[in-house]
């Protein structure tokens, strides 16, 4: 079973209290793996969004690009 400390790390990443039943059946290592997966997913999404926003501007007509860039920044 995971320690309360590990559960609080997961709670921090989720932004909500994880289901108690879930925390109870996971070992500390498993809970850490889950936290790592969540952190990796966030980083992956954030990086993808960075790239996408840059790429998106290429598709915006020149006349609108400045305005869109202003909105996005």
């Amino acid at each position: 079973m995971a320690s309360p400390l590990d559960a609080s790390v997961l709670e921090g990443e989720l932004g909500a209290k994880p289901p108690r039943g879930l925390v109870e059946v996971l070992t500390t290592d498993e809970l850490r793996t889950l936290v790592d997966s969540l952190v990796a997913a966030k980083q992956h999404q954030s990086k993808a969004l960075d790239d996408a926003l840059q790429d998106a501007l290429r598709h915006v007509p020149f006349i609108l690009r400045g305005t869109v860039e202003l909105i996005l920044t």
Partner: protein
């Protein structure tokens, strides 16, 4: 859905949210499905909240862009995952307009990553034809789990159109994995009988009966009965029953029996699997374990002699309290015309004695119900066979209740049954067990018997040493034989 399957489905969904292969989350298999679902929703929210500001800005920018350009950006710059994230932040009519300009394959990609909770209004506004197109794409990719997440958000027209795009097995699989099954019964009502017959055949062909049976929990009794009729009409009951046996699902199937027509019950009762002693034993085990006797009892009438003997033999070994419970259910369901012959003709002497002990001890209302049925359905010969094993005091206890409701009719019937079966002793003991008041009232009825009948009864009573016990009835009978 079985817990293992539900857990597996939830892990697949969570893996998508975390952009990780499902195998990497195998350690979550010990968790409860409801906990995994909560975790998935929390993770989806966390991912959304983490980039909320930038996603909102993206949605804002889309307002000033023509939809054609927005669609291009969605497809070539954002890709399906980010498009899915931003969908719920778009003005719904703008989102629908963008979707019109995107190919179904890309929209299907978005659907896989979309959190329907955040895009409810967009989903609701999607034209049925486009929903159908996306469903067709998802169907080709075996994305039933994805479709299952959306069913609860679509209106009838869109669901009907989507179902038309899916093959029969896919419809069943989507129904199996759909979230919030509260609407399942209503949705099944949208499917015409002919299509439903095809879906049931797919359950047989693709070995999906466990999935189909799992849906019964969320159906109205009316729907369950209708589907059972359809399965019977399509000749699918045998494979359904075999699957229920193989997968330990009798507790799901048995409650449907009372909802079936007598013709379908007859088909069910005569299936080869019912003649398999091990299978029948498992049915009875399930009935006992889940207290489904009330569901099973109506089937007994339709069983051939062999299985009926087995039911009787197993029934005779049940605990006293279970037997008492069954007798109560028999009375509640007015199933005496099945139960009395079952005990009398299919149980051995020990079994009959056990049933007799139970009947001797049940509430007066139950005896009244049995007496009415015995009289109505001419079950006196069978009842005498059961009564044969009762002690005198037990017969005395039930005698009044057996006869009092219809003295004029019941006395001749009782005597005819005793004559037919040769079971004079229990018959005469019942008459001897009547209270003096009832015997007094019965005496004039006895007088209406033919002289020959009265002489015969008197002779039998004299032989058995019971003439004196018959009181005024005995006097009338003896008068005829003097």
């Amino acid at each position: 859905m079985s817990t293992a399957l539900e857990t597996r489905a939830e892990i697949i969904k969570l893996a998508r949210v975390l952009a990780a292969p499902p195998e990497q989350l195998a350690y979550l298999e010990r968790a409860a499905p409801k906990d995994l679902r909560t975790l998935r929703e929390q993770a989806t929210d966390a991912l959304f909240e983490g980039d909320r500001d930038r996603l909102r800005k993206l949605a804002l920018a889309s307002r000033i862009l023509p939809s054609a350009i927005g669609a291009t950006i969605a497809r070539w710059a954002l890709g399906p995952l980010l498009s899915a994230r931003v969908t719920g932040l778009l003005d719904p009519s703008k989102a629908v307009d963008l979707a019109k300009r995107l190919p179904a394959a890309f929209l299907a990609d978005i659907a896989i990553d979309l959190d329907p909770r955040r895009a409810r209004e967009v989903i609701e506004r999607m034209p049925a034809a486009q929903v159908a197109e996306i469903a067709g794409e998802l169907g080709q990719r075996d994305e039933q789990v994805t479709m299952g997440r959306f069913v609860g958000y679509l209106d009838d027209e869109a669901i009907g159109a989507a179902i038309e795009q899916l093959d029969d097995a896919s419809v069943l699989r989507v129904a199996f994995v759909m979230e919030d099954k509260d609407r399942l019964d209503h949705i099944l009502g949208l499917i015409p009988d002919q299509r439903m017959a095809g879906i049931l055949k797919a359950a047989e062909r693709e070995r999906l009966w466990p999935e189909a049976l799992d849906l019964l929990d969320n159906m109205s009794d009316q729907r369950k009965g209708a589907l059972a009729e359809l399965a019977a009409a399509q000749g699918l009951l045998e494979s359904l029953a075999e699957s229920a046996y193989a997968n330990g699902l009798w507790d799901v199937v048995l409650p449907v029996i009372p909802l079936m027509s007598e013709a379908s019950k007859a088909i069910l009762g005569r299936l080869p699997i019912v003649e398999d002693t091990a299978a029948l034993a498992s049915i009875l085990d399930a009935a006992g374990e889940h207290d489904l006797w009330a569901a099973l009892l109506p089937l007994v009438d339709h069983l051939p002699a062999g299985p009926r003997n087995q039911v009787a033999a197993l029934g005779a070994t049940l605990d006293q309290t279970v037997l008492e419970h069954i007798v109560d259910l028999v009375n509640d369901g007015d199933l005496w015309s099945m139960f009395v012959p079952l005990a009398a003709d299919h149980m051995d002497a020990v079994g009959r004695e056990r049933v007799a002990q139970v009947i001797a001890g049940v509430k007066a209302t139950v005896i009244n119900g049995m007496a009415d049925a015995v009289d109505r359905d001419s079950l006196w010969p069978e009842l005498l066979r059961i009564a044969e094993t009762m002690r005198a005091d037990q017969l005395d206890r039930i005698a009044d209740r057996l006869l009092q409701a219809g003295l004029e009719d019941r006395l001749p019937s009782l005597i005819a049954a005793a004559d037919q079966t040769g079971l004079w002793e229990p018959g005469l003991r019942i008459l001897g067990g009547l209270t003096p008041t009832l015997q007094q009232r019965l005496a004039p009825v006895a007088a209406t018997l033919s002289a020959e009948e009265r002489a015969l009864v008197a002779a039998k009573a004299r032989d058995l040493g019971l003439l004196d016990k018959l009181g005024p009835i005995g006097t009338v009978l003896a008068g005829a034989s003097d």
